[in-house]
Subunit: 383 residues, 2 copies
C-alpha cells in the first residue's frame, strides 16, 4: 500500500512512453485532505535539475496537494526549455486534479542533459489522473523505477494514524546512475512545521548517512504530505519516530538495491568527540575506493580503514585507534589486533566498528563495495 | 642518471629479500656534500607510518645526509616495534655511511600492518652501502618500485647545476596500492630555506594536484637534498622552476603508470574566483566515481562533470557553466552544447575544461579513470 496506506491519498502509475523499455514511467500522488501540510528536502547540489528548481518554490509555503513523478528523463541541464516542461507539467496536474499549480511538486529521474518529450509526458499525466485510486501506491512505486530491480515501499503504524512511503534509487543522496526520489504520506493531523521538523530529523540520520558512491544527484527529493484524514494529532516524538522508521527502512532498501554492489557496509564510529566528527570519520571510510574494493575482494584490509580515518580532522589519537570488522578486533591501538582469519566477508552484510576513544558520540554511515559491476554499469550507461 | 645526475651524490639499489618476488628492494642515496641542505614534505594523513614519524624529526633541521628506502613493506601500523626497526635502519645507515643518524631519512613502501624483517633489511643496507656509486641512480630507482611497471627518473639542467630525481608510486599523494616516494637531488649551492621554499612551491602545483583515486597514503614522502657541489648559487626563481619541472615530470610519470588506469585525465578549471576554488572544483570532478567510470566507457558524460562541480562551494552560476572535453564545448550555459559525437575518447589523454566565468584564477588537477583493472588490483592485493 505504501504511499496510499494513509487515508486521504490516491495514487497511480502509468506508461507514458518516456522509457524505451515501455515500462511504467509516470506516477501521480494526490492528497485529498482535509489537510494540506507538507515538507520537503532537496539535493544540496548547486547544479539542480529543473523539477527541483520548481518544487523548491512550490513546497516552500508548506502546502502540497499533489506530486507528479516521471522516470525516463531527469530534465536536468536542459535549460529554460526544460524548466518550461516542468512548469507545464505542474499546470496540467493542477488542472486535471483540481488544485493550484503552486501546490504541485514535480520530480524527474533518468538521463540528464536530454529534453523530456512534453506531449508524451502530458498524455501520461492525463492517464495517471484518470487512474488515481486509493490502492494505487504500488503502481506509483513501480512507475518511478529506473535501474532499480525492485519497487521500494514501507508503512509504519502510529496510534490511530500511519506513515507510508515509496522510494526509487539504486544508491542515495549520493546515488550511482540514479536519483533518489522519496514520497511519504501520513494521515496524522500535523501542520507544516511538524512535518518539516520530523522530516529533517529523520533524513539527517537516514538518507543523509547513506553514501553509496559519494556522488550526489541533481534531482534528489524527499517529500512528506499529511492529509490529517485520521483526525488524530500524534505526539511529536512518536510522529518523528515513525517518519524516521519509514525513512530508515526505505534507505536500507535503497542500499540493498545499489547498482552493482556485492556488499552492504555499515560503518559505525563510537566514542567520537561529537556526532559530526563521528559522521566525518564514517563518511571518509565510506568514500575510500581502496577500502570498498577490498571489501569486494573479501579482504579485511583494516589498514585502509585507518588510512581513511587519518585523512579526517576528527579528534583522535592514531596510536590508540581500534577497528573491528564483523565482530573481530583486527586493529588495536593503531596496530595489528586479532587474526583476520576469523572474518568471513562472503555474506552481503559487513559491519565496520571504529573506536576513536575520545568521547561519547556515535554515528553510522552506510555504503556499498566497489565492484566490477559498478564500473560496468556506470561506464556503459548512456552509450 | 636521475638522483645521481647532480654532482656530490652516490646511490645504490640492491636485493635484500624483503619482496617475495626477489626483485631489488633496498635503495640508498647519499649526499657527499660539501653542502647538507635539505627539505621534505610528508603525507598529511594523521595515521602516519613509522618511517614518516622518524623522518619528520630527522629532516626538521634542514640537514639530511642520506636516505634509505625499502619496498616490500610499509612499516605502517606496526606499533613501537615497527618504529624500532625504522630507528635501527637509520642508525645502521649512519654507521656505514659515516653520518649522524639524525641526518638519515627513512622511507618504506609496500603492505601495511605487517612487520618488516629487520635482519634482511639490515643486510640489505650493508650491501647497498657497499654498492654506492656515482652512477647508481637507476639502480636506486628500480629498487623502490612496488606495483610500478617502470622506474621513474628525470633530470632538469640549470645554469651550471642540475636537479634530478626518482619516484615510485602507481598513483600519488592519493595513491592506489602504492605510496608515493620521491627523492630529488641538486648540486646547486642552496641553503635549507631555499630548498624548502622551492620544494613547497613545486609540490603545491604538481604532486598535490595529482589525485588518482582520492586515497591518501600513510607513507608519502618527497625529499630534496642539495650538495652544493656545483659551486653555483642559482637564481631563486630559476631554482624553483627547475624543481617544479622535475616534480611535474615525475608526477606525470606517476599518473601514466597508475594502477589499472586506461586514461590520464587533466581537469582544467578556468575563470575561477580564486586558485583554491579552481582546485576545489577540479578535485571534485577528479573524485567523482561516476565521471571516472564514464571516461573508462569512452562516454563524454558532461552531466556528471556538472554534478560534481555542483557539490563544491566555489563561486559560480550554474546557469552559465561551460564544459569542454577534448576541445569540444559539450555543455554551454549549464545545458547541452555542441554534439558529443565529435569527441574521441579512445586515446589515453583526456582534457576536461570547465569555465566558471567568475574571475581570473585557474588550476589543473590530474586523475585517472575508474576501470575494471583498478577494482581488480585493489580487491586482490593482500589476499
Amino acid at each position: 500500500m505504501s504511499v496510499t496506506a494513509a487515508k486521504g491519498f490516491r495514487a497511480a502509475g502509468v506508461t507514458a512512453g518516456l522509457k524505451p523499455s515501455g515500462k511504467p514511467d509516470v506516477a501521480l500522488v494526490v492528497n485529498d485532505g482535509p489537510g494540506t501540510a507538507a515538507a520537503a528536502v532537496y539535493t544540496s547540489n548547486r547544479c539542480k535539475a529543473n523539477p527541483v528548481l520548481w518544487s523548491e518554490v512550490a513546497s516552500a509555503d508548506g502546502v502540497v496537494r499533489a506530486v507528479v513523478l516521471n522516470s525516463g528523463g531527469a530534465n536536468c541541464y536542459t535549460g529554460p526549455a526544460g524548466f518550461a516542461v516542468t512548469h507545464a507539467s505542474a499546470e496540467l496536474v493542477a488542472r486535471v486534479v483540481g488544485v493550484d499549480a503552486g501546490d504541485v511538486v514535480v520530480c524527474s529521474t533518468g538521463l540528464i542533459g536530454q529534453p523530456l518529450d512534453q506531449p508524451l509526458l502530458e498524455a501520461g499525466i492525463e492517464s495517471a489522473a484518470a487512474a488515481l485510486a486509493a490502492d494505487g501506491g504500488p503502481a506509483a512505486a513501480t512507475a518511478i523505477m529506473t535501474t532499480d530491480t525492485v519497487a521500494k515501499e514501507t508503512v509504519q503504524a502510529g496510534n490511530g494514524w500511519v506513515v507510508g512511503g515509496m522510494a526509487k534509487g539504486a544508491g542515495m543522496l549520493a546515488p550511482a546512475l540514479a536519483t533518489m526520489l522519496v514520497v511519504l504520506s501520513t494521515d496524522a493531523d500535523v501542520d507544516a512545521a511538524q512535518c518539516d521538523a520530523a522530516l529533517r530529523a529523520a533524513t539527517r540520520v537516514t538518507f543523509d548517512r547513506l553514501d553509496s558512491d559519494g556522488c550526489q544527484s541533481t534531482n534528489d527529493t524527499v517529500l512528506l504530505m499529511a492529509s490529517g484524514a485520521s483526525g488524530v494529532r500524534p505526539d511529536a516524538d512518536a510522529f518523528t519516530a515513525a517518519v524516521t522508521a519509514v525513512c530508515h527502512d526505505l534507505a536500507q532498501q535503497l542500499m540493498r538495491d545499489a547498482e552493482g554492489a556485492d556488499h552492504d557496509i555499515a560503518i559505525e564510529v563510537v566514542h567520537a568527540a561529537t556526532e559530526d566528527e563521528a559522521v566525518e570519520v564514517a563518511r571518509s571510510v565510506a568514500r575510500s575506493n581502496l577500502f570498498k574494493a577490498a571489501v569486494f575482494g573479501r579482504d579485511a584490509n583494516w589498514g585502509r580503514v585507518l588510512a581513511a580515518v587519518g585523512t579526517t580532522s576528527a579528534a583522535f589519537d592514531p596510536s590508540v585507534l581500534d577497528v573491528a570488522m564483523n565482530g573481530v578486533w583486527i586493529a588495536r591501538d593503531g596496530g595489528p589486533g586479532d587474526s583476520r582469519d576469523g572474518i568471513d566477508l562472503e555474506g552481503r552484510d559487513v559491519h565496520v566498528l571504529i573506536d576513536l576513544k575520545e568521547g561519547d558520540a556515535t554515528a553510522t554511515v552506510w555504503t556499498n563495495d566497489l565492484t566490477h559491476a559498478y564500473v560496468h554499469e556506470n561506464s556503459a550507461y548512456s552509450t
